[in-house]
Symmetry: none
DNA sequence: GATGAATGAGTCTTCATTCAT
DNA sequence: GATGAATGAAGACTCATTCAT
């Protein structure tokens, strides 16, 4: 049955997220992933060509899910509201699935190869959501026009990503227990002031 | 002669920066570093306990050099000027030593182990420079007081770091050829607006 | 229906001949053979105990077919004529079914295990046809008696086999395009002179 | 010291000859060869790029040694004497180093890849010695001219090789204990009759 | 101190074989 | 009988580290 097959593939990807997040890509053993997924080592190779392919596939698929979630943002509210929602969604997602976020933002960077082969497309689309918000904000006069949308969207991504990272990596971090909504608001205030016209 | 010894140690660290930046930590071979440094494989183990130790030592030492450069910032000018200078220095440094920057920001993240063992101290001190500027700005009334200095300094670091990263990783990036001064100014404008009271 | 079963078994053996000839026994995958035969991987194990068993069964069965073809030789003509016919038949067979010949002479040698378990019997019978011709030739006075029939039959087999091999393995060999009849005649002339009394 | 290095390389090759002869190329484990050579597994890879490379290097080097031994034949005596000596040398060599002979004639054939990459050159030179003897014999009028030297040299090689093989593979073969000189004489008688004019 | 040959633990990947459907 | 997804044992190869010179 097809659902059986998809089920097993999903279990492997989910196991890979956990193990990659815990050990890092290069230190993660395929056999650990297999064990975590409850399948035999060889089974992984029925679904993925290699350990590399597993990471890349994982990235593509999870990134697509996230993109769908985020692409809905553009459809409602003012640019300011969209930006707030983007930040809130991102931080909520991090709070919700910290391991996935770590793999998507940290482990994937490990090899320039992944950065070149797999990420530009998906990562670029993720950035494009942000750049789109800024574009529309500039067009509507809500945001200053003398800021480069590409530069600023990348800067904002870095800002949000770093905060996400500190959530993800710090177990007993000083703000780890803060409500992500509060953090999101504070960041949004800061950013909106920075780009408001 | 002590200078001889220091010379060889330095050559190994510089070679490691190059190789780690090019290949990534886990894919870099000790023998490649040895070759790039012009020493025998075994010689590296006279100066560093292990490959891990080489990365950590590299990080600590280079970070200290950078910190000295940045800690001078606090001594002159207004918080706004200090923040501008901080950003400018960071981007100038990236333009100057992109490989070192890549190792310090990307490779070092590879393993949570490094994040936990070696970086918090040095990295924390680097962030502290930024947090100090914000603190003093809030104290002097130049910056808004309802922003958490720790959160904002981390956010600003992420922002600057991401832009640095895009410089480092992109060979034909759209803004790769821009003058780093111009970028620094634009970022500073954005940030200062965001935190100005 | 029994013929159905036999049909599938035959298809597997024929596919195995092709794949073993192309890839060699150890590099041939059971799944390739299954695909070439148009059956599922598991089906092969309904007809053969193992990959080894497939090779051995293939050898035995094909060898028996060949032996029937060759054993008819002993029934007609003089020893000289029989020897000529033996050589001609062998080379004609090679020209006709080069892949089968390659499996029977090259792949089967790969493992001493096959040489010990499966081939001696069948191979011995094949040699026996040759030895029988020589025996009868010596008895009739046509062939010299101071040649050991076992040694000479083996020598002749090697001679013919090597020429066969060069046919099988060489695509653009210098004599690959020659008529096998011509080659057979030349070899027969040489051999008959060598053993004639 | 260079002799140390060469010594270790030689030990590996000699161990490989033993193991390849006993188990066959594909069933021989690199670790077995290492153990037989008294070195660590990894050491083999300091001298050879891969298991394949080990077999090919072994073949090339041993073949060259043999060729030097055989190429001396052409310098003395009549073609008949040369042919006798060639056969005698070949069989003596087989009796002396049966495992090496098995690797050189049986194992090397396993993969068409080896046949194409490594052997044609060396094998061709070996055959050329034989073809040269026949050529000179035909030129001097000692051998019949209506036999193709290339065909006949290949046929003779097959003949001699098969007898060698039966020596090599049969432990309790009926003629295994015979004096190789006697066998060589009998074969030489047969062959010389066959090609004498 | 310096060397670099040697080590051998560690792991990805393959593929013959099995068995639930 | 037939299937083919799943299994997991097996092995080539890498490379950080050591140590005799």
């Amino acid at each position: 049955m097809s659902s059986r097959r998809e089920d097993k593939r999903k279990r492997i990807i989910d196991a890979a997220v956990d193990v990659f997040a815990d050990k890092g890509f290069f230190q993660a053993k395929v056999s650990e992933i297999a064990e975590a997924a409850g399948v035999a080592d060889g089974t992984i190779y029925l679904y993925f060509k290699s350990k590399d392919d597993l990471l890349i596939s994982l990235f593509r698929e999870k990134m697509n899910e996230i993109l769908q979630r985020f692409s809905a943002i553009r459809d409602e509210g003012s640019p300011e509201q969209q930006l707030r929602r983007y930040i809130a969604e991102h931080l909520a997602f991090v709070a919700e699935k910290p391991k996935l976020m770590q793999v998507l933002t940290v482990e994937i960077r490990q090899s320039p190869r992944f950065m070149k082969e797999a990420t530009p497309q998906a990562f670029g689309r993720y950035l494009a959501v942000l750049a789109g918000i800024i574009d529309r904000g500039q067009a509507s006069g809500a945001f200053r026009k003398n800021l480069d949308p590409v530069l600023i969207s990348r800067a904002l991504f870095g800002l949000i990503d770093e905060i996400s990272l500190s959530f993800v990596l710090s177990n007993e971090n000083e703000w780890a227990r803060r409500d992500s909504t509060e953090v999101a608001n504070q960041l949004a205030d800061f950013i909106l002031r920075g780009i408001a016209s």
